[in-house]
């Protein structure tokens, strides 16, 4: 029986070579990688990886201790109840932009929840300049009640200076 999946999270100052070193260590002990996602947030490196076959969380942390220390990273390992081949397809995309202010994510995601949308992917960023920041958010999700309730729910944000675009998505399969 396969060992359970672990979710390995690494965060720290971004430097070349982190992914290569971490995966080399894991490959060296015969670990299996599942889905992974790496991103840069605020000039910081962050990666989450599904890993199994390299021992329990403490053993995996021990294997990576040298690499973690060399790169000055924070490491967190959890056992998770995960499985591969569980993909879900978004059928709606919501893009939001405005002058930056607090509460945009909370307001918009609450409205989307109210409209029956389940978020599958969310990316937000702050652009513009330091004195005139702008906020941009892109959300993909599943619309359990169709796209119209979502359009109606986000229409209120126009009065608050937010531009919100709702786009239906359809996966072409052939």
């Amino acid at each position: 029986m396969n060992q359970p999946w672990l979710l390995l999270t690494l965060v720290g100052a971004d430097r070349p070579g982190i992914v290569a070193h971490v995966t080399r260590v894991l490959f060296g002990v015969g670990a299996e990688l599942g889905e992974t996602a790496m991103m840069r947030l605020g000039n910081q490196f962050a990666i989450m990886m599904m890993v199994r076959g390299a021992g329990n969380p403490e053993e995996v942390a021990g294997l990576l201790e040298s690499t973690r220390a060399d790169f000055g990273l924070k490491l967190h390992v959890d056992e998770i109840d995960a499985a591969l081949h569980q993909h879900r397809e978004p059928d709606v995309s919501v893009t939001v932009h405005s002058a930056d202010r607090s509460g945009i994510v909370a307001d918009v995601t609450a409205a989307l929840l109210e409209a029956g949308m389940n978020i599958l992917d969310l990316r937000s960023d702050v652009g513009g300049s330091t004195d005139k920041p702008i906020y941009i958010m892109q959300i993909d999700g599943e619309s359990s009640q169709g796209i119209e309730p979502i359009e109606q729910c986000v229409a209120r944000f126009a009065d608050q200076g937010l531009t919100v675009r709702v786009t239906p998505l359809e996966t072409m399969r052939g």
């Binding site: 081949h85 993909h87 397809e89 978004p90 059928d91 995309s93 893009t95 990316r123 892109q138 786009t167 239906p168 998505l169 359809e170 996966t171 072409m172 399969r173 052939g174």
Partner: protein
């Protein structure tokens, strides 16, 4: 149709990377194959197209059917395209694609927004079509199959965001 669906080849089968030969013989057997191919696509998860090489027949024939889109889109009806060739492209759009030959994975691909193509129908008559949006995407995906190209070969960043149409 009571016959069994044809087995669908799945990646990394080398035949999916092979350029197909033109169809030269337009006969009842070809018509029967096209029907069998449609029957096969019908068994898959909401397929709007399929190409002959996906069932191991290495000939330039594919089906395009935008009438099966979940939301109504501009379309030319259910099409059997034999020896299709795209003759004109315009615009670009990002869209999510999946493939009967690549289960459990979808990804973003940039395709021309509008195309013109020429082909032969199942009887061998020359036909031309103008397509846009979703239907143009289906045709480009299926014609790629005839050239041994998979949507995996055309993946763009999952965060690519040319306006979707």
């Amino acid at each position: 149709m009571s016959v069994e669906p044809l087995p669908i080849l799945t990646y990394p089968d080398e035949r999916l990377k092979t350029v197909c030969e033109p169809v030269e013989q337009f006969d009842p057997e070809l018509r029967e194959f096209a029907e069998h191919l449609q029957h096969t696509a019908d068994q898959g998860p909401s397929a709007v197209g399929i190409a002959a090489p996906q069932v191991g027949r290495m000939q330039r024939l594919c089906l395009v059917d935008a009438t099966r889109a979940k939301r109504p889109v501009d379309n030319n009806g259910p099409l059997v395209l034999v020896n299709p060739a795209i003759t004109n492209w315009k615009g670009f759009a990002v869209g999510r694609e999946g493939c009967l030959s690549i289960p459990d994975y979808t990804g973003k691909v940039i395709r021309a927004e509008t195309i013109e193509l020429t082909a032969q129908d199942i009887e061998g008559r020359t036909v031309t079509f103008k397509m846009k949006g979703f239907e143009a995407r289906i045709a480009q995906h299926e014609i790629d199959h005839l050239d041994g190209i998979l949507f995996l070969d055309r993946l763009v960043s999952r965060h690519a965001d040319l306006r979707e149409r």
